[in-house]
Amino acid sequence: MTVGEKKRATYTIPVGPIHPALKEPVLLELSVDGEEIVDVDVLLGQVHRGIEWLGMNRNNPIQTIHLAERICGICNICHPFAFVMAVEHAAGITPPARAEYIRTIIAEMERIHSHLLWAGVAAHEIGFDTIFYLAWRVREDIMDLIEYVTGNRVTKAMFQIGGVRRDITEQQFPRIRQSLDYYKGIFDHLRKIFLEDKTIQMRTKNVGILKKEGALKLLTVGPTARASGVAKDVRQDQPYAAYADLDIKAMTPDILTGAVIGDTYDRIIVRLLEIKQSIEIIEQCLEKMPPGPILAQPKTAVLIKSLTKAEGEGVGRAEAPRGEVIHYVRLESGRETLSTWKVRAPTYVNLMCVPTILKGGQIADVPIAFASLDPCQSCTNRLVITDRVTGKKSVMSYEELRRLSVEKTKRLQQ
């Protein structure tokens, strides 16, 4: 602020922790001047649940798979996926090829469901409830398919260390193809509604812009980064599961429009393109699925014993619908629970760009710009409380928690 520049009189509007614009609790403190946003402060930790503590102190790895599933209700596959890959990396287990293909199919089904959910919620944020109902009605088909394949709509419980728990048999293929045909047929209709509707364009074009340099500097991941022109995708750069056999290209908005602006409209484009890509991936997987077993070690009791004896550390990376999710796992011989478990969810890094995209905009842009990052606070808030050693129960202040968290990161890096 230079001499002579008037300091604007601002007042603070809190968005959260409970607010109709947010799916999950987070506190955004907006300093506004009239209707224009001058500054943004993001405060996390509103929905901390102690999940990593449970994984390290109470659960054996098989139980932790189901715990990892419940980190988030929407990204329900990517967390167990990354966790299972980390444990397999640490213990030296290789899943059979058929299991890898089934994992890929389930992950892509989840991506379709998550992007359709996001599309509906984004429409609701701009007040267009009709499209919200329409997008979620279209999503019902993939939910029915997921229920048919895995047994449940949300908590799919398909993963096991060393493979998957359920097979996708040849008899189930026609039902899967029926859903894929439905989505291929309706995709054009969805594209027209979201990308060519005048009021949606008025609300999303040039709103919440994140340029390419900003995306690279703030380390954004996932569709948020791809919409700004950064063509990074874990499935393309470090392929895991069956992605190495398929041809995956990171989806950026210039595939459709030829230019990259990095606003909310571009993020809608990227997510719609990814739905199309997911449909194609599932089709390719169904054609190429190799025969064989689905579990490296079918007897669960033997598996638990071998994991208790395993020693090593492993990192699992997966491409969640929101970006790159990393799980780090360390196993110690003779210990039934995990020795160390650290989850880095994609929303954690994406939230860093919130001040950049909100500053200078209007309050009316806050819900849609924030929602266009597809924030999943449930994935983000699992801070570790490390006072079990003393056994004392105390209320920790924010500064104390932060200090402990920094210390722990230093310990993990040694």
Binding site: N59, N60, I62, Q63, T64, I65, H66, L67, E69, R70, T130, I131, L134, R137, E140, D144, E147, Y148, G151, N152, T155, A157, R165, R166, H189, K192, I193, E196, D197, K198, T199, T300, A301, I304
Partner: protein, 156 residues
């Protein structure tokens, strides 16, 4: 310009997509509504049917349980309790997270998932929500063994 307008106006004349379970409008008094349903005066509109292999409420075949406690070691939510005197287990559905890990791990295949999902109750320890014995699951190995045994007995 308004791309959705045609679809929206057309939907005015189509049937709604809602599955109207249990009734079209919320009843003024839920207890009276449920009383009338049990008496048979009102019919519930059925829910969307579940696919096969749906993971619903768990069922336990007490006779087949050997008390090995493998299910307890894999349950993520500690929903299964070991009854020391009988050497059998007991499952609390209000804690169950429907992962079916115990079903997979059970050696004598005493556990199975039914298709029941309407499980709400005022009391989390009600009899329906504490599974002690559900008899033999239809089509299970035990039933087939029992049938084979009965046929052998009758032929002798």
């Amino acid at each position: 310009m308004f791309e959705a307008a045609k679809t929206i106006l057309r939907q005015l004349f189509l049937t709604p997509a809602t599955n109207k379970f249990p009734a079209k409008y919320a009843p003024a008094s839920t207890t009276q509504f449920l009383n009338k349903v049990t008496k048979g005066e009102l019919k519930l509109i059925p829910p969307v049917p579940v696919p096969p292999q749906f993971r619903g409420k768990i069922a336990l075949n007490k006779a087949a349980c050997t008390g090995c406690r493998l299910c307890i070691s894999v349950c993520p939510t500690r929903a299964i309790e070991f009854i020391l005197e009988e050497k059998k287990v007991r499952i609390f559905v209000s804690r169950c997270c429907f992962c079916a890990q115990c079903v997979e791990v059970c050696p004598p295949k005493a556990l199975s998932m039914t298709e029941e999902f309407l499980l709400s109750n005022y009391n989390k320890y009600a009899d329906e929500l504490v599974i002690v014995d559900s008899g033999e699951a239809p089509g299970s190995k035990q039933e087939k063994k029992a049938d084979a045994g009965a046929r052998r007995e009758s032929s002798e």
